[in-house]
Amino acid sequence: MSNSSTSDLLKPFKLKTKQQELLIRVSILCLVYILAFITRLFSVLRYESMIHEFDPYFNYRTTLYLTQHGFYDFWNWFDYESWYPLGRIVGGTLYPGLMVTAALIYRLLHFLRFAVHIREVCVLTAPFFASNTTLVAYFFGKEIWDSGAGLVAAILIAVCPGYISRSVAGSYDNEGVAIFALLFTFYLFVKAVNTGSLAWGLASAFGYFYMVSAWGGYVFIINLIPLYVLVLLITGRYSMRLYVAYNCMYILGMLLAMQIRFVGFQHVQSGEHMAAMGVFFLMQVFYFLDWVKHMLSDTKLFQEFLRITVTCAIAAGGIALGVGMASGYISPWTGRFYSLLDPTYAKDHIPIIASVSEHQPTAWSSFMFDFHILLFLFPAGLYFCFKRLSDATIFIVMYGLTSMYFAGVMVRLILVATPAVCLISAIAVSATVKNLTVLLRSKNKVAQIGSTKGTSSAKASSKASLDQSQPFQKNGAMALLFGAFYLLSRYATHCTWVTSEAYSSPSIVLAARGAHGNRVIFDDYREAYFWLWQNTPPDAKVMSWWDYGYQITAMGNRTVIVDNNTWNNTHIATVGRAMSSYEDEAYEIIRSLDVDYVLVVFGGVTGYSSDDINKFLWMVRIGGGVFPVIKEPDYLVNGEYRIDKGAAPKMLNCLMYKLSYYRFGEMMTEYGKPPGYDRARGVEIGNKNIKLEHLEEAFTTSNWIVRIYKVKPPNNRW
């Protein structure tokens, strides 16, 4: 956008227009690169250089382990500190791409003698990769449209909230590098398809390998690319270039992906990866048919041959798939995959997925929040793409449409759609602006010539008369151009605002406005975790809801029963059952799990709403899913979830309620309200006289957000 207009401005220095254009392009890219980085630093400036949220703490802990113990120990790491007493084979159950990347950056910096702390590296990994993504977006845009669209795409993706939400400084999560890897793989593949070059195909295979090592979302690539190839085949765009690109990428990518232990042989064994293999064989059939067609000059004969071959191929493929499925060699689709295709699936079958807020279907407001004007530019971009169909634009259209569907299914998948939306919108912006400026430029020139040759104004106007069918065209173009720039500036403002307000909170440290407008910090989580670390025996086992598992192991350095890697539903259900049972029943479970401390999160004093009482129904559901003794209706009154006097008796006496509200009944939380007034839910609690028999309060943080209870040893029996 600015590229074409600025180069226009600089026309007088005609001497080196090309170099100047290059210079401007490079400077814009550099600025975008820097912008993408610094706009993600709000959280560091507002809070501090720290790791955010839940999963990043696990990633940080493993990275720390990797840098301290080396790669082989990391690969073979059996973690005794989580999933007690089961443990977890960490090396084989994670995507190591992120940790290896951070560790490499760390090593490189130390090799260059920059003695940085590994935490700083981890905190800044996501912004760094976001910057790299802008570069990839530029090249991708250049590949599918032109360099102008590439620049716009780089700018749009640099500040797009949908991407920023997962890549601010401190959100050290797989997605941070995975979006880069995803876009990079796509770019390399499109490049390979466009050039038919084996080198680019190889590069895309390595890009795919990096993506597989970084994030489970690689399944999207391994399904989208075959789908794209299929579409090209159907639309008659089969070419040697496509053949080379896909075969190289698929075969090498598959072999490389098998090197990741967590993925293993899934590429040949899992139902989710079968589409790619099917398309691979289809390609061979196509190639074969092409060859036969070349050899057979008789079209009739060829038609016959075609029918037989295609039928045989499909039949053979179907039988192979059927046998594979029946014999159990090919595993069926997983629940997570189903829940993507059918948004209601998780709700009915996998409560543990449905309980996570980022797995909910996306609301319209989130789309607006994360995409802003891109939401309107997206269809416009699609229009331009259809107008100039090529292999590359077909790809971006398919990527855009499929990812938009997935973004609608799950909030967190907005992230995957963001690059596509940015690229397609960039095409819209770039094409529109280009069209408008072409109009303006042609007229300007006429006017210019007219003025230099004063006598020839009549001639000039006659020249312009070609376009005079549309009056005020120039003004219209100007107005539209200003409108476009206004929209884009609104977008920039919106993005900055969203980044600073919504996406830059570490969620470990909570901030609120005090009564006098001052900023109040609630640092209760770290207070509690650090207390655990310092003041409990090193082998103490802590039971909490799984959300806090990673944080407790990373910040509290203590063994947990369940954590955010929700691989064992039964174990989680056991914890859910303990939390929803009466204290003496729960004590049995707690004893059997060898638990020393129980940790609950409670927001009644501060009004912090994502606490355990609000998550409690999910504990009941997940617990009840495995142990039918826990029945959800027991905790509800007429289908309503209450904690006040009208609450269900089982609710008022279950362990979670007791632990959350222990001695809360004596507490005045708000002026003018009775003691025991829960500010998170706005009611007075129903059971103020809570006595604990088997547990005792060990620690409560200064704002009561985290409460830790010690499990008493069993009573002596005489």
Binding site: S456, R526, E527, W531, Q534, T700
Partner: protein
């Protein structure tokens, strides 16, 4: 805690008991009372301050005085200092301290540890000398009961002897025990025992024989912070760019009675004084003046509860641990601050030396193990340390930003450190001023080579196969582009010449100077001829290239334009020579002008088109 510690205590006037010597110590100045022994139990660090007057009763000259401490007490002794007595007040860091050494005299009971104080000059018979002794002990208070609940008050027991334990006979002696509070659970009552508020007084006792011992025990309330740093690592890093960076890693424990049972936040919030009396909530550090960039954090991040106040004399840092510290609770944190270099680094005899305090700036903190690391700039040599007390010492290397072979680190280790150890020590070293430039030069050269590499990359031909078709095509294309660029340049110069001619015509219409106009025409003709000469070889070069057609068209159009301009010029000049009216001339050239404009437009369009190839 140690299972038992009894005795200890102080001040005496003694007659040297050893057979050969007979010294004796006299009564003391203060409050007209004889010798005063004061035990300060007002913090968890026990300080025993005594003023001793020695008198030599024997015939021989004496220059050594022995101080005796029971073994259990000696084990806890962190600091011992003797100084000549100078008037009132307790012993402060005096101008000259008397040398104190561990002594091992013969024929003395094995359960005692001895130290000898060297007097400035020997005492002749009948002479006397008065000096102060300050002994500081850690871990000398034993909490009884050992475990308390949140609501309980912490009680501690202190045991010692009411008589001054000494190898000499004591003439007059008294003892006062200062407690933090007047609430005393129990204490040993002997003759002459009095209580004044929070002070217990024993004595005066007169004419005690040598090694007399009278155990006392005081059981009293003490809710003062029992802050014990089990380990403190101080790292002092010198940057000759103007900063001394101090980083202190604390591992802290509340050394008082262990807390047991529930910790109720509700009680603690509602009545912190009653329900949390034994806990401490904050620590105070007195940092040197002009300390800056102070931070306070721990392994998992910044701790936001701290306050910094500063004036010209000191900087006071008040830090709150993440949670209130109850008995037996631990915490670990790091504080760091920068200090201006000129306040701490000096030069003498061509050597630089760092002069900085040894111990932690925390108030009333006991440090079980203190490690001080002084990180000198890379390239320092000839390192030596001067410490006011014995320390363990070794050297390490630390690799920090932009180091090649690491910075030399002087490590000093000392156990059982109390605030009295917070004295200045010096590290001497050689450092050349030029070494300072090493790191900036490294950075500059790093960037320089990076840019050079970029330039080389942009200009060097790094293709592997110089004969491949695509490579040749690329080379050829580049050449063609360069030539096209040249053609463009020439054409645009031609266009400028045309513009000049037009301008000369305008001048003519304004001034009527035909000669000047003709001269301009002549110059233009010459230039154009030259340009067309230049153009020729370029055109022949381009003949085979794909863009030849456009370029040729451009050149042809330009030729045409050139001719038209010339014709117009001639017509106008002609008109002026024939003195035709301006209107007449305009009519003549009107048609040409139209063609000119159209041609010019075409040439411009072509130029732009070629530009975009």
């Amino acid at each position: 805690m140690e299972s038992f510690r009894f005795c200890f205590l102080m001040l005496t006037i003694a007659i040297l008991a050893s057979p050969a010597l007979s010294d004796l110590v006299l009564s003391k100045v203060d409050r007209r009372r004889p010798y005063v022994l004061q035990i300060y139990l007002t913090s968890h660090i026990v300080r025993i301050s005594s003023t001793v007057k020695v008198e030599n009763a024997g015939p021989e000259k004496e220059s050594l005085v022995l101080l005796a401490f029971p073994e259990q007490q000696a084990k806890n002794m962190a600091y011992l200092m003797a100084a000549p007595h100078e008037g009132k007040g307790k012993v402060k860091n005096p101008v000259v301290a008397l040398p104190v050494k561990a002594a091992n005299p013969k024929d003395m009971p094995a359960a005692l540890t001895f130290y000898s104080v060297s007097l400035p000059q020997g005492l002749a018979e009948g002479d006397s000398f008065t000096f102060d002794v300050l002994a500081v002990f850690t871990h000398a208070l034993r909490p009884i009961p050992e475990q308390i609940t949140q609501a309980d008050i912490q009680l501690v027991l202190y045991q010692d002897s009411a008589h001054y334990l000494s190898p000499y006979a004591v003439k007059v002696q008294s003892l006062s025990v200062k407690l933090p509070d007047s609430r005393i659970e129990s204490y040993t009552k002997l003759e002459n025992t009095k209580i004044h508020g929070s002070e217990i007084k024993y004595g005066p006792y007169e004419n005690l024989p040598s090694f007399s011992y009278s155990p006392i025990a005081v059981h009293f309330e003490s809710n003062l912070p029992f802050a014990v740093a089990q380990e403190l690592v101080r790292e002092i890093e010198i940057s000759h760019w103007g900063n001394v960076q101090v980083t202190e890693h604390y591992k802290l424990i509340h050394g008082g009675a262990q807390s047991k049972g529930e910790f109720s936040r509700l009680d603690f919030l509602a009545r912190p004084i009653v329900r949390g009396a034994s806990a401490f909530r904050y620590l105070v550090a007195n940092l040197p003046p002009r300390a800056h960039s102070v931070y306070y954090r721990d392994e998992i991040g910044n701790i936001s509860t701290s306050h910094l106040r500063g004036d010209s004399k000191k900087t006071e840092l008040l830090i709150e641990p993440r949670y209130p510290m109850f008995g037996g609770w631990r915490t670990a944190f790091t504080i760091g601050y920068g200090l201006p270099l000129q306040d701490f680094l000096y030069e003498s005899d061509g050597k630089r030396f760092l002069n900085i305090t040894f111990s932690s700036p925390m108030v009333e903190l006991v440090i079980d193990a203190l490690i001080v690391k002084v990180v000198l700039p890379e390239g320092s040599s000839d390192i030596s340390v001067a410490a006011p007390f014995p320390v363990e010492q070794w050297q390490e290397t630390k690799i920090s930003h932009l180091d090649i072979d690491g910075r030399p680190v002087v490590v000093l280790k000392k156990t059982n450190v109390v605030p009295e150890h917070n004295q200045f020590f010096q590290v001497y070293y050689h450092f050349s001023q030029l070494s300072m430039l090493r790191e900036p030069l490294m950075l500059i050269s790093g960037f320089f080579f990076f840019f050079v590499a970029c330039i080389v990359y942009m200009h060097a031909d790094i293709s592997i196969s110089k004969s491949s078709a695509s490579y040749l095509a690329k080379r050829q294309w580049e050449e063609v582009q360069a030539v096209v660029q040249q053609v463009q340049n020439i054409i645009s110069r031609c266009l400028t010449i045309h513009d000049n001619l037009e301008a000369s015509l305008r001048d003519l219409s304004r001034t009527g100077n035909i000669q000047a106009c003709k001269a301009a025409r002549k110059a233009a003709d010459g230039l154009l001829k030259e340009l067309s000469k230049e153009l020729k070889p370029l055109l022949t070069f381009l003949q085979s290239s794909p863009s030849a057609a456009q370029v040729e068209e451009l050149v042809a159009k330009e030729r045409e334009l050139q001719e038209k301009v010339m014709v117009k010029h001639s017509t106008v000049v002609d008109g002026y020579e024939k003195k035709l009216g301006a209107r007449d001339i305009e009519n003549r050239v009107a048609l040409q002008q139209q063609k000119l404009t159209a041609l010019r437009q075409e040439v411009d369009d072509l130029l732009e088109f070629i530009d975009e190839i």
